[in-house]
Subunit: 279 residues, 2 copies
């Protein structure tokens, strides 16, 4: 019996995936990862503005994307997002606001464009839950298309989650991918379950080549954290179909966060090279 290697879009390099992407932010991210040789996303969960910006500046050289929860910062001022954008430009990373919009299209658009945080002004990526139906993708996607500045923007769909007992599984995931295919140019990619590589592989197989698979639930030391979050290693997550690994506590909780970021960057990048047979 001859075992034939299964060739899928996962074996393609980021350069080729960038060509295939129809969403401008996905296109830019694939190209950026190839240029900068990193597929690491740092989740900056600091609530103190100075420490939040400090971490963004420290990690900037190592990462492809900085993930924010802008709405947990104490004493937010618009100057904070202005400084964040300057850091992103200086260090060449993109910004992903992990807002998890989850309302009907009309309300989600207001939450995205108005209020204090004005996410649409500075974030390349914002994620949405599709439990309200596809209207949320269409609402945010249309808004992005209408803004008309040079910032590439895209919607990330929470097609899976990595928290215990989550309901983004099976038919829910299938529906999410169906919506993503329907609005291919508005959607940058999916959140996949980095903590369960079998589930992740199913999502990756369903997804189109131009959509990025983002995975939380990744830690160099596998297992659980006792707080309902499960983890697998960067190598396993990327082999199963993750394109970018999202790491928070594994970096900022380490004795030397920059050293930890470099270790995650190296683990993520070598797993990617292996997956597309570049080594």
């Amino acid at each position: 019996m001859i075992v034939v290697g299964l060739m899928t879009h996962l074996n393609s390099g980021y350069e080729e995936r960038s060509q295939q992407a129809k969403n401008p932010a996905a296109k830019r991210l694939f190209a950026l990862m190839a240029e900068k040789k990193t597929n690491l996303i740092f989740s900056d969960d600091e609530t103190d503005p100075a420490r939040f910006l400090g971490l963004a500046g420290t990690m900037g050289t190592e990462i492809a994307v900085l993930k924010t929860h802008i709405d947990i910062l104490e004493d937010f001022t618009p100057n904070i997002t202005k400084m964040l954008v300057e850091l992103a430009s200086k260090h060449n990373f993109m910004i992903f606001e992990d807002r998890k919009l989850a309302d009907i299209g009309n309300t989600a658009v207001l939450q995205y464009t108005k209020g204090v945080y004005k996410i649409a002004d500075w974030a390349n990526f914002v994620n949405v839950h599709v439990v309200p139906g596809p209207g949320i993708i269409e609402g945010i996607g249309r808004t992005n298309e209408q803004i008309g500045d040079s910032l590439p923007r895209g919607v990330i769909i929470l097609s899976q989650m990595s928290s215990e007992g989550n309901l983004a599984t099976d038919d829910y995931t299938k529906k999410a991918v169906e919506f993503a295919r329907k609005y291919e140019g508005m959607v940058a990619g999916h959140i996949g379950n980095g903590g369960d590589v079998d589930e992740l592989a199913k999502l990756a197989a369903l997804s189109v080549p131009g959509h990025v698979i983002f995975t939380p639930g990744v830690k160099i030391e596998e297992g659980g954290d006792g707080k309902g979050q499960r983890y697998s290693s960067p190598g396993k997550a990327i082999a199963a179909g993750s394109d970018t690994i999202i790491v928070g506590r594994g970096i900022y909780g380490a004795p030397d966060p920059l050293k930890a970021a470099k270790a995650y960057r190296e683990a993520g990048w070598s797993a990617y090279l292996k997956r597309c047979s570049k080594v």
Copy 2:
């Protein structure tokens, strides 16, 4: 054949339901509705702070609850929520921040307590999606129990939605009710699909007597709005198991909003009296 009327907790008055409620905010809301003779929730979707507060003041006498999207207001200052709380006290209504929290417990708690809006300081109710699993209920519920002031607080679970193509159906709804039962004292109630009375009746049958069923998707004129939202009448929604009707555009979009609010109040209240055979 003798037709026997099906007696369920839906036939109980709000006074009795208040006694049965284990969550302090649900207990208070049932009692308030009975006292004030209104089961109307006004959804104040204004983005201009002066008009937002103006509408809250105008509708205050008619409603049981004011529903807010605090994160769509332009030029938010903490003074706005301070004034909102004063209006709630003056006119005897409760406040429901329609934030649709949808992250893992730890992050949702930060979004609820920190940032600019500090929802936990002023809202009686906040709603959560359970797609991340039950950890979000436990996180917010524990936080509410630990605050230790006199404001009654409760979590509302989005167990159904009324938007087109939404995924909060069937097994998702069953899981949501299962979580609500498990954390009965933390949960004030459910969002039910006011736009589909058959689905709503299923949710109401599964829910415990002490949990309030809140329904958007209710309009005196039934049908769709062409924007992916379906509507049924207050009478049908309440007969099917809704305890409180949430109305936005049907009121603020009317030529005379106060007159429209009074009409919804009357429709909602008479349907309730009919359901529990008080007329």
